[in-house]
């Protein structure tokens, strides 16, 4: 479903050129989960954003359902992100002046009764019931990240991109969030980057990014 070939990403750092990704290739099948681990600053987030079409690689190609993202227009990539992809960022990035329910609906493509029912289902499953009309400032870190997860899942995306969603959470909240993610994502494929190695056994595949190169770490037998 998602395939990356020979991704190279370089940044200018003063007069130097930094190569963050150096010939990265990977593929992701529908409904499967992939965890990318690596030390801080290894380029995990950059890889995630390139795979999601948020960043353009220096060279190489990312294809979604057989179509290279680089051949798509800006508007097509924007539509693709809104329609097929979901995002959970390292910071929850909730809109401060919107309530929990309104934040979930920020990315909702439809305002149908079904969407509302699904939002209520997510709220209940994520333990946010009773908090629907609260503002982010009055929520705990774990609750905020769960709202962000509900926002990412509201459109039932084909792929969920998660950028260290547990980074700011304690170990109990991290485990709880990962448990919910596993339960709720259903047919949604998941690519998550993290440096938390305790989460690895919850993924179909794990790859490690070191010095811009990606290597397989383990494969869970299902």
């Amino acid at each position: 479903m998602l395939e990356a070939r020979n991704l190279v990403c370089e940044y200018k750092d003063g007069s130097r050129r930094l190569r963050v990704l150096d010939g990265v290739s990977l593929s992701l099948q529908p409904g499967k989960s992939l965890c990318i681990v690596g030390p801080s600053g290894s380029g995990k987030s950059t890889l995630l954003y390139v795979l999601a079409g948020l960043r353009v690689p220096t060279s190489g190609s990312v294809s979604y359902r057989g179509r290279p993202l680089e051949t798509m227009s800006n508007a097509e990539r924007v539509r693709l992100r809104a329609r097929d992809f979901g995002f959970v960022f390292q910071q929850h990035f909730l809109v401060k002046h919107l309530t929990v329910m309104e934040n979930i609906f920020v990315s909702a493509r439809s305002r149908s009764r079904e969407t509302l029912a699904y939002a209520r289902y997510l709220v209940e499953r994520l333990g946010l019931k009773g908090l629907e009309h609260r503002f982010p400032a009055s929520l705990s870190g774990g609750q905020r990240q769960r709202v962000a997860l509900a926002r990412a899942l509201i459109n039932r995306p084909a792929i969920l991109f998660a950028d260290e969603p547990t980074a700011s959470l304690d170990s109990d909240s991290s485990a709880s969030l990962m448990q919910l993610l596993a339960e709720l994502r259903g047919e949604t494929a998941l690519i998550m980057v993290t440096h938390d190695t305790r989460l690895l056994d919850q993924f179909d595949r794990t790859m490690e990014l070191v010095e811009g190169k990606l290597r397989q770490v383990s494969r869970r037998v299902s």
């Binding site: 924007v78 992809f85 910071q91 609906f105 305002r111 509302l116």
Partner: protein
């Protein structure tokens, strides 16, 4: 159904910001409308003082010899002329809120005066028309402005500094035509001698043109027509209009700069929010349009409240200051309304440009990553 993008959502939940924007715009609407309203009322009252020109023209002799008989005969026989009345033009001063304006008083023989009043459909509200020399009747509006009542004896012989030369007894108050004043005279009274020329219906313009081109003689015969009055008023009123335009421009520019800066600060604070929308796959155009709609909604509220407060203030000003002085004051003036529009429109346009530039340059991934 949750509606995160309702146009009033952001500002309803950021009341201090809304109040700052609304108050800023309201204040500027008040200043523009108030200054405009005051100047406009002065203009209106100056025009009203010369409102006779809407109904008749005047031919005056500028030399002691008066108007030649043949000229007078030509005027009387002109097909566009309905009636000609000998007149002596006096004048008085009517107060404006600041300063005074000159108002003509047409004095004629008592017999002519009754016919003239009939021709112009002048109604008597109180008392009667002047019937003997030394009597005067004036519009109720002018009477209020001058603080004259029926039975009062007025004129320069009675009150020092009064521009109406002589001694007159007020015998009637007239309706319909503001600032009309008629006096009965034996034609020996002080004043500029001449003739009132009433044109036939629908022949005013042609008759005036003929009077201005064929009758007027430089330094000998002056013709006062609707057009000549308009031209002389333009010079006087043009100054007021220029002041209004300048004040409006200064307030508009100052307000636009201040409010735009304020609005820009509010928009710039929302960069992370806009970055999120873009990262989630919302088209930049929609994000810009939404932010502009929110801002325009608040600006509109500020404008509408400003106009509402101004209208209330105008009613009070009219009732407290203008009406008691017999001065006209237009509470709902479309021209003033137009003067208040550039400010919110300019702010919206500037914000549209700023937002477009800001979002087109926004590296939303850097914002999401917390690097910017």
């Amino acid at each position: 159904m949750p509606r995160p993008f309702s146009p009033f959502r952001y500002f309803l939940r950021h009341k201090r910001k809304s109040v700052a924007l609304i108050a800023g715009l309201m204040l500027s609407m008040l200043v523009i409308a108030f200054v405009g309203g005051m100047i406009s009322s002065v203009e209106t009252n100056i025009r009203l003082a010369q409102s006779f020109s809407a109904h008749f023209s005047v031919v005056q002799a500028l030399t002691p010899e008066g108007i030649p008989e043949e000229t007078l005969a030509a005027i009387r026989s002109h097909p566009g002329v309905a009636a000609v009345y000998p007149v002596s033009q006096l004048q008085t001063q009517a107060p404006l809120l600041a300063g005074t304006t000159t108002v003509p008083i047409f004095a004629m023989d008592a017999g002519d005066l009754a016919l003239f009043a009939r021709d112009l459909n002048i109604t008597v509200l109180e008392g009667r028309l002047p019937a003997a020399p030394g009597e005067i009747a004036l519009s109720s509006q002018m009477a209020t402005a001058k603080e004259w009542r029926v039975g009062d004896v007025v004129g320069s012989e009675v009150r020092e500094g009064e521009a109406l030369r002589g001694r007159f007894t007020v015998v009637g108050l007239l309706g319909d035509q503001p600032y009309t004043a008629l006096a009965a005279t034996d034609r020996t009274a002080a004043g500029v001698p001449g003739y009132v020329v009433l044109a036939r219906p629908d022949q005013r313009a042609e008759t005036d043109t003929w009077l201005a081109t064929e009758v007027a003689v430089e330094n000998e015969i002056r013709v006062i027509t609707k057009q000549s009055v308009e031209e002389s008023l333009e010079g006087e009123i043009g100054t007021f209009s220029l002041i209004l335009a300048l004040l409006t421009a200064i307030v508009t520019v100052t307000n636009t700069v201040v409010t735009t800066l304020l609005a820009y600060i509010f928009v710039a604070e929302r960069r992370p929010e806009f970055a999120l929308y873009l990262a989630l796959g919302q088209p930049p155009g929609r994000v810009i349009l939404r932010a502009l709609t929110e801002m325009s909604a608040v600006l509109f509220v500020g404008w509408a409240l400003g106009m509402a407060v101004t209208t209330g203030l105008f009613w009070w000003v009219k009732a407290s200051f203008f009406a008691p002085r017999g001065l006209a004051f237009t509470v709902w003036n479309p021209t003033i309304l137009l003067h208040t529009l550039p400010s919110p429109v300019l702010i919206t346009v500037v914000l549209a440009v700023v937002l477009t530039l800001m979002l087109s340059r926004l590296d939303y991934i850097s914002v999401i990553e917390g690097r910017n």
